[in-house]
Each structure stands twice: as structure tokens, then as C-alpha cells.
Symmetry: C2
Amino acid sequence: MRYPQPHRNGGETQQNFHSTVSLQKLKRFNSLILVFRFSGFCFTLASAVFMFTNYGVSDSLDWLNFDAFRYVFVANMIASVYSLFEMTAAVWEISRNATLLPEICQVWFDFSHDQVFAYLLLSASSAGTEMARAMKGTCTDGTVFCVQSDIAIALGFVGFLFSGVSALLSGFRVVCFIINGSRFYV
Amino acid sequence: MRYPQPHRNGGETQQNFHSTVSLQKLKRFNSLILVFRFSGFCFTLASAVFMFTNYGVSDSLDWLNFDAFRYVFVANMIASVYSLFEMTAAVWEISRNATLLPEICQVWFDFSHDQVFAYLLLSASSAGTEMARAMKGTCTDGTVFCVQSDIAIALGFVGFLFSGVSALLSGFRVVCFIINGSRFYV
């Protein structure tokens, strides 16, 4: 972790300037990640809530009776809890200029989990879509149920998009760490 | 594109040595990508062939009658054609030490397409899995059809794994290009 050093001579001034620029750029980069994580959190939580409250139309039309809808709920719930943790970690890093976990653990943890949860959300949303399409025939007596399922799945797809972008950004940090030995890219 | 330079003085010898090491490491890296692409090609092509030949058990049990199975076939077919193109590009780069397209286009093209096709394969396989699960009740008179569908979907999942790893490797090249202005990482 590089901190700005006190001025002593020209060389150190140069290093200080470089470190300050690095810190500012890293803060901006982390803020960008934070925005994507917050958006992802909102959409995945909304998807999970929409799916969880999708019952009561009739005895047979309950999201718990359909494995794909259970998968959508669980995947979005996991992703939203993870996004909440990552938002905390990002706010911590922006405010204290240090990672929550040791740097090498943090960059690999972020990237691997972003990637896996993006895949999880896509897989759940695709399975949910297929189930929703297969149910269209039985939707005459449960239109509200079907529409609410569609909305939950659509929100999950948007959550996947934000997770995918977060995975790209945290992947960038991992490669910076591999090449430079630090998450700083300047 | 850096080529080894003829020896003239100490500085150039150093640069020549560096370039040779870079070239050798890049060749090894490209060979690794080639292995993953070839594996991905085999599995996605096998999946597409398995799905395409999955008919004739009865009139109703034909893969063309199920949208998820059509999706599995199309996604795996597209991914296998893309893998074939990328294998050609990798062999070209290994043999001629130059990319098929201009370097910046090549690294971005590879990464974006790897990522998108990995997502496509996962989405298709997940949708296909959901359809296969929903069909289990009707599988008493078409066991061969159901087993062959399951195999095609499983092969698609393995193809997705190889595409995902290829996306990671080509993502590494993109970040090298962003940071160093070259796909060389040494």
C-alpha cells in the first residue's frame, strides 16, 4: 500500500506527486465500482423480493412449487448479500485508503466472487425464463403470478449486467496486481 | 509488435534478450489459449451434433419442437464456429509472431467475443437444463431422447467452462494492452 511521503527533496516530491495521483485515480476507480455494486444490489434485492412475495393467487401457483423460481430467488438473494458486503469493503477502501482484507486476498476475492455470482445470476435468470415460458399456457387463471415472475426474472437479468461489469472492473485490478504487484494502475 | 533486433551494443543486446524472452513467454501463453480453445471447440461441436441428431424417436419428440433445445444447438454451433476462427488466429500468431487483425482490434475482439459466448453457452445450457427437467414426466416413452438431450446440455456446460477460461486469458491480454500498450506482459 503506497501512501504519500513527506517532502524532502526533488526525487521524493516526484514520488509524492505520483502517489497522490495514484490515490486519486484509485479512489475514482473504486467509486465507479461502488456505483455498479450499489446498482447490482438494488436490482438483485428487488428481484428476490418480487419473487418471494409471488404467492397467494391460488394453491398451485406459488413460487416455492417451481424449482427454477426457487433458484432465481436464492441466486438473487446471495448476490444481493454479497453486493452489500462488497459495498462495505469499497466504502472502507475509499475512506481509509486500505483494503478490508489483505490486498492480495481482496483483489482475488472480489474478482472470483464477482465472476461466479455474475454466472450464477445469468444461469438462474435463464432457467427462470425457460420456466416462465413453459408456464404461459397455464397463465390464464394466474396472470398476476406470471407477470410478477417475469418482472423478478427481468430484474435478475439487470442485476447480472451490473455484476458482469463489476467483474470486469475487479478483473482489471487483479491483472494490475499480477503485473505491478499492487492494485494501483498508475 | 516487438521483434528481436540485431546485436550492436550492450543496450541493444539487453533489449534483444528481453524481446526474445517476451516472444517465448507470449508463444507459451498463446499455446495455452490454443489448448483451451481446441477443447472448447470439441465440446461445443459435440454438443451441437448430439442435439442436432436428437430426433426420430416419435413425432412429438424432436429437438426442433422445443425452443430451449433449439437455443442449445444454436449457441453451441455459434461458439464452435467462433472457436475454429480463434484457433486459426492463435496458430497464425504462434507461427508468424503477429496477430491476424491489428493488435488492438485482436485483443479486444478476442476478449469481448470470449466473454459474450461464454455467457451465451451458460444461458443456453441453463435454459436447456430447465427444459430437460420439466420434460422428465414425459420421458417414459422417449428415454433415448431425454438421455441424448441431457448429454448435449452437459457437453455445452463443459464447453462453457473452457470458454470462460479462454475469456480470463484473453482478458489478461487486454489489460496488458491497456497498461503496457502491447499484448506482451514481460
